[in-house]
Symmetry: C2
DNA sequence: GTGAAAGCGCTAACAA
DNA sequence: TTGTTAGCGCTTTCAC
């Protein structure tokens, strides 16, 4: 017990069988009689036997690791969005007896310089990429022919697990419409980001569906900026300067919404009486905001779990499965609206 | 290139030597002639050879992994404190060619139920534990006889890398004293936490050193609570109810300080004119607070780096090192005061 | 200085 | 149903 750990040999000896039998039992393979199976299991338990990962991996020609890559600035954001996603993958990984190797890459990724070590050494069987990353990185990954799944981001040729951005945005805007709002602004940033673009689409869709004509003047977007609180503050300023001020704004994410809120409150406006606000992501800060923020809740851990599950499926060529297209599957995860004070019912327009 | 990766055999063949020679060259061992050394290196480079981790680990009887454990509620805090620490360890790990396996444990850790998988399977060569964790967990770790280093926490029998809590607190309070403050409160929580206890010590020390007698009435502590923003709000209330209000408060961390600030501002007090505030940790939110918060900056990534380095030292029994006590080394990392508006010079008391 | 060979602990043919 | 054996790719004695 106190000496070095026991091996498959020890178990075999203790159970009075050969090591291959032990291997078969432990991996539920082949046909082993119930009697020996029990003996083996018992011996293994009594010896506190745990298979050596290195030995198994060497024999199986795999690593048992999954790489998880995200941008460092995303990982260290004050909102633990990607942290939850990571925890989701980690949870699912346990079910498959895999380890997750987490590494960050810089925003301005340089192809050979910043390549994660586990990729360089080919020390992962599959790869998970969370959030928007440099395209040069994705190109490198593409060239490696490694099973890969993106999370909360989309790119040519990669399967991905994404939020139902469009659907969530639509529900959010429909909620505002239902509250009686007719002049609803959209606050956004970097439209290159598929998520943001989709949220804008959802916003437009909701308006069009209800027979409205989206007013371009109400689309407040800073194409060059990241969707941060600071950007929200600036865009809030622009909102204030509009000739006819909107009565509500749907913001592409909570950070932006919180920034807008700050600006509006400082300008002396009331929320939601003067301007109702809805965000997206439902971050922790949404609840604690001066005016609790209505938002679209995203199930971050679920994103991670699903991505890992999907990755594992792609890694194990299951013969029993039909030969579906090996292409770019996109898994869309639903989200849900959480109504808080920032968009509470306006006295003037009671809900339908 | 497109087929499976090349092995040490391939390199040996290409260089016209034996595999043991290749091994020696690649590990800088034994005496190999400069000529063959070059040939081997060249061959390895041309073949894009990367040693198999599994094979090496199997042979070396090690795993090449380091476990990193922290509480899930710490990891998902909105302040990426532990995220930075993790990144520090990850950075240092690369230098030693180690992988870091990150896992969280619940706050209410249950001994055999929640044991991290890599510990159960003994799949790490060393362990890093960040932040306060359940004592039952540490007991389990103790029993494993695994090289371990704590980070930002201390416990019997474990080496640790910690912030200079006492020193930082002292500097913070000295700063307030220098601003002319004489009634300085201490705002804290859970004194069981060594960091908080030490910060209180530093606070007292600064006062005593300058010949003051610490006033127990000014020590506002909620022993039962965690040092969070909510706790800070409550303690801020208690501060307001004091018969003779302090002119300044040193808070055990930024979360508490931010909570106190919120309460004071809502009560109509001005900061720093009515009450000056100083926090600890220098979190991201400190800069963005309504009144930018003076705080003690902590070099989080450095904590992680040092811990990893120390762990690696303990893992590799270096014969050349003197047989120092194998005991509980505590590495103290300095921190520095960052002065912002929340404690800016008061007109009444110009700086010395 | 270099090579042959054993062995790390496991899986998977292949025999029996 | 079970056992024998040949690897998996590397490190490391031990000869030469």
């Amino acid at each position: 017990m106190s000496t070095s750990r026991s091996t498959i040999r020890d178990v075999a000896r203790a159970a009075g069988v050969s090591i291959s039998t032990v291997s078969l039992v432990l991996n539920n393979k082949g046909h082993v009689s119930e009697a020996t199976r029990r003996r083996v299991l018992k011996a293994a338990r009594e010896l506190g036997y745990v298979p050596s990962r290195a030995a198994r991996d060497l024999s199986l020609k795999r690593t048992g690791n999954i790489g998880f890559v995200l941008r460092d600035d995303h990982f260290t954001r004050s909102e633990p969005f990607y942290t939850y996603i990571f925890l989701g993958t980690e949870f699912e990984a346990r079910l498959h007896n895999l380890y997750v190797l987490l590494t960050t890459i810089p925003r301005d990724y340089q192809p050979r310089v910043h390549t994660p070590r586990f990729l360089r050494e080919r020390n992962v069987d599959g790869l998970l990429v969370a959030g928007k990353v440099s395209d040069t990185f994705l190109q490198e990954v593409r060239a490696m022919k490694l099973p890969t799944v993106l999370i909360d981001y989309e790119a040519e040729g990669f399967p991905a697990v994404v939020i139902d951005n469009q659907g969530g945005a639509r529900v959010a805007v429909e909620h505002l419409l239902q509250q009686g709002h007719r002049r609803i602004a959209f606050v956004g940033a970097d439209l290159q980001h598929p998520s943001i673009a989709n949220r804008l689409e959802g916003y437009r869709g909701a308006l069009v569906r209800t027979g409205q004509t989206p007013d371009p003047a109400l689309v407040l977007v800073d194409e060059e900026a990241e969707p941060t609180r600071a950007t929200g503050q600036r865009l809030g300023q622009r909102l204030l300067e509009l000739k006819t001020r909107p009565t509500a704004a749907f913001c592409a994410n909570d950070a932006l919404a919180l920034g807008v809120m700050e600006t509006l409150l400082q300008a002396g406006l009331r929320i939601p009486e003067d301007v109702a606000l809805v965000g997206f992501d439902d971050v922790q800060g949404a609840t604690q905001a001066p005016v609790p923020l209505t938002s679209v809740r995203v199930f971050k851990e679920q994103l991670g779990e699903l991505a890992m599950r999907h990755l594992v499926e792609r890694m194990t060529p299951d013969e029993t499965r039909r030969p579906y297209a090996r292409g770019q599957h996109i898994i869309v995860v639903p989200c849900e609206l959480v109504v808080r004070a920032s968009s509470a019912h306006r006295k003037a327009y009671p809900p339908a």
